[in-house]
């Protein structure tokens, strides 16, 4: 969204390397069965969130300073709503699931 930002090769390569790492970790854990229980889910979730941030920063060039404020606002708003909608839905449906046994 921002025209002046430096989109050098190194930005994309850094992003790519980080993304590969953050993909490799969860795949390796699951494939190799290196971890068990809820820890695996935690690692997958953290790696996913980090990788989303990596993509936003290095590929979509989101930047708190140079990205227009309205774009940041809508990104944040969407994040909050997705949290409310997905979190709320899961909470409601899990609760229902338990009560309907």
């Amino acid at each position: 969204m921002n025209h002046s930002a430096e989109r050098s090769l190194s930005t994309y390569l850094t992003g790519f390397v980080l993304a590969v790492l953050l993909t490799a970790i969860p795949f390796a854990l699951v494939w190799g069965g290196l971890l068990a229980g809820s820890a695996v889910y935690a690692v997958i979730a953290v790696a996913a969130v980090l990788q989303v941030i990596v993509h936003l920063v290095f590929f979509l060039h989101i930047d708190l300073k140079s990205t227009p404020a309205e774009n940041l606002f809508f990104l944040a708003f969407a994040a909050v709503l997705i949290f409310i909608m997905v979190g709320g839905s899961l909470w409601i449906m899990m609760d229902l699931h338990h009560r309907m046994q």
Partner: protein, 679 residues
């Protein structure tokens, strides 16, 4: 060849169905003949249907809304009549028809009356209020209109070919699933929702961008008129809540058409997920309908109290609060599904919190009236009627937000009364206020006030008579959607409610008469200045109706009531130093074409005519492709032409037409002087 479409689909199986079909087809033929008789086809096509002018698109939206209001109201009248008579009898409607009628009533009123009405008013007014020449995406605006019209057409044609849904406007599965509703009704409902939902989403995005990017110089966010603020908020709500409708309607369509198991009984479906997703859209939708009306009330109450709006900042924050909170309360539509107390209590409390900013708004309007000079224009009378009646709806809303009380009232007529109590005074009265207020802006002459006031009294009396009995019937244990009943003590209430519906019928007739009477004597009620009510915001700075470009020179703004200040400072109606060329979008046939294709695609999908589905899809892509490769979609209106139009306009205005501003002092930065105040 024709999928499951056969002769059986034609309505020769009962007199009710034939009657509905006859009225629909007859209405269509009448309109066709009228246009032909007026030789208006060419004008209609070149000046209106293909137009990308936001004002014309807005007018077409409102016309669509008013036509569908009549259709939706006929449904209401038929339901009230049925229940007034059906004590221990079948009444005059078999269940099959009664069910279609209450389903289409809700669907039409929400999607094809309220949505187009508010979108139309927004289209006509918001670009002018922010001092812009157009919306951000004029072509997209035309597509939105025609998608909405395509959805409405799908509902209308369901009366003639096949049947409409019998699953209620919320269409809860598994009843709306293919196992229990195998016919085409639910498919019509789904495609009407999907098509018009796409239109609404595009409108939402369009108006966010318009308001964020197209404001005139000096108009900061905190100087935007309240109607623009509410429009911005609901555009955001539309953009972020309609995806939920798209998802849930898409999933139900997959269930019905391809045998998926999202919401089926068994096979791993979960019907409560439907309720969950539907209301993630549905609750914000309530505020999408009501907030623009709140914006209209804010404009009207300031103008007709001849005062600055009280608590502008407070109103802005209250609007934003309501918009955000509206995403956090959806579970209150299904407290009774058996959630645990924690879930119910938290969603109940979140719901009640919305009452706070809503209450604040009521008091802000109240104190705008305080120490004002109130003129009982129909818009203002609708506003006062709203303020009194909406409070009752708010109270009953909080009652329903108490989960244990909701266990008693859910699915009862109390609930029906409650949401009509929100949507009739809260939304519809606002749109009517807007219709009376902005009509001269759109058409250049004022609406008759006498018939306006009469329509108000019929509507409000009709409202109280129709819905107060339903509150009581809720206490008496009457469920909604009952085709007949056995309790004789219910009948008197239902008869009163039916009388209320007759009053509303008079209200609608009054509006029709008002339009007719005003059109007959339009010459004497001409609005020459473009500012018939001594308005305060920028839309009154343009002529009535505005030139295609709205503003010859974009205004500069220093305060919220921009035009009010211009009038005080003598800056209004002044020709600028020089005129400039103006870029305008060209009309295009692609908008109506896409609408027609969306209609055909929906129809084909409903009847499983797969070759037509594919054809429409490909043709739509072709249309989009033609449009996307057209780099020549705009033209330049030369400065000389602009100057001619403006000179003609200003020459008509004599000082006698202008409003006396001696009561007012300029304000803030606009005056360039410290406040003197005349309190």
């Amino acid at each position: 060849m024709l999928g499951r479409l056969t002769v059986e689909a034609l309505p020769f199986y009962s007199w009710v169905a034939m009657g509905g079909a006859a009225v629909t087809v007859g209405g269509g033929i009448a309109v066709f003949l009228l246009i032909t008789w007026l030789r208006a086809w060419k004008v209609l096509w070149t000046d209106w249907l293909t137009s990308v002018d936001h004002k014309k698109i807005g007018i077409m939206y409102v016309v669509l809304a008013l036509v569908m209001l009549v259709r939706g109201f006929v449904d209401a009248l038929m339901m009230r009549a049925q229940q007034a008579f059906s004590l221990n009898s079948e009444g005059y409607l078999p269940p099959e028809h009664f069910e279609q009628i209450f389903s289409s009533h809700g669907t039409i009123m929400i999607f094809f009356v309220a949505m187009p009405f508010l979108t139309g008013l927004i289209n006509i007014i918001v670009p002018q209020q922010i001092g812009a020449r157009d919306v951000a995406f004029p072509f997209l605006n035309s597509v939105s209109l025609w998608m909405t019209a395509a959805g409405a057409a799908l509902v209308l044609i369901s009366l003639v070919v096949g049947k409409f849904s019998q699953a209620g406007w919320t269409g809860y599965p598994p009843y709306s699933g293919v196992e229990y509703s195998p016919g085409v009704g639910v498919d019509y409902w789904l495609w009407a929702l999907i098509t018009s939902g796409v239109g609404s989403t595009l409108s939402g995005i369009n108006f966010i961008v318009t308001i964020v990017k197209n404001r005139c110089p000096g108009m900061t966010f905190m100087r935007m008129p309240m109607f623009t603020w509410t429009t911005l908020c609901i555009s955001i709500l539309i953009a972020f809540s309609f995806p939920a409708l798209t998802v849930v309607a898409g999933q139900l369509t997959l269930d019905r058409t391809l045998g998926f198991h999202f919401f089926t009984n068994g096979d791993g479906g979960n019907m409560m997920m439907f309720a969950n997703l539907l209301w993630i859209w549905g609750h914000p939708e309530v505020y999408i309908l009501i907030l623009p009306a709140f914006g209209i009330f804010s404009e009207v109450v300031a103008t007709f109290s001849r005062k600055r709006l009280f608590g502008y900042t407070s109103l802005v924050y209250a609007t934003a609060c309501i918009a955000l909170l509206s995403f956090t309360v959806w579970l209150h539509h299904f407290f009774t599904m058996g959630s645990s107390a924690n879930v119910n209590a938290i969603f109940g409390i979140a719901t009640m919190i919305i009452a706070v900013p809503t209450g604040v708004k009521i008091f802000d309007w109240l104190f705008t009236m305080y120490k004002g000079r109130i003129e009982f224009h129909p818009s203002m009378v609708y506003t006062i009627g709203f303020m009194v009646t909406f409070v009752i709806g708010g109270v009953t809303g909080v009652l329903l937000a108490l989960p244990p009380a909701d266990y008693l009232m859910h699915n009862s007529t109390f609930l029906v009364a409650h949401f009509h109590n929100m949507l009739i005074p809260g939304a519809l009265f606002g749109y009517f206020a807007g219709l009376n207020y902005w009509f001269p802006k759109a058409f250049g002459f004022k609406l008759d006030t006498k018939w306006g006031i009469r329509s108000f009294w019929c509507w409000i009396i009709g409202f109280y008579l129709a819905f107060m009995p339903l509150y009581v019937l809720g206490f008496k244990g009457m469920s909604r959607r009952m085709e007949h009943y056995a309790d004789p003590t219910w009948q008197p209430y239902l008869i009163v409610a039916a009388i209320g519906a007759l009053f509303v019928l008079c209200g609608i007739a009054c509006i029709a008469i008002q339009l007719y009477v005003s059109a007959r004597k339009w010459g004497s009620a001409r609005d020459i200045t473009g500012d018939p009510w001594n308005g305060r915001t920028l839309e009154w700075a343009t002529s009535s109706p505005p030139a295609p470009y709205n503003f010859a020179v974009l205004p500069e703004v220093t305060d919220i009531d921009a035009f009010h200040d211009m009038k005080i400072l003598g800056q209004a109606y002044q020709p600028p130093q020089h005129y400039e060329d103006i870029v305008m979008p060209k009309n295009t046939w692609i908008g109506p074409a896409l609408g027609a294709l969306a209609f055909a695609l929906g129809f084909a999908f409903v009847w499983y005519i797969w070759w037509l589905v594919a054809l429409c899809f490909v043709l739509s892509l072709v249309c989009v492709g033609i449009r996307a490769s057209d780099d020549n979609s705009e033209f330049v209106l030369p400065a000389a032409e602009v100057a001619r139009i403006e000179r003609e306009r200003l020459a008509q205005i004599s000082p006698a037409d202008m409003h006396d501003m001696h009561d007012y002092v300029p304000r803030g930065a606009a005056s360039g002087a410290p406040l003197t105040g005349t309190v």
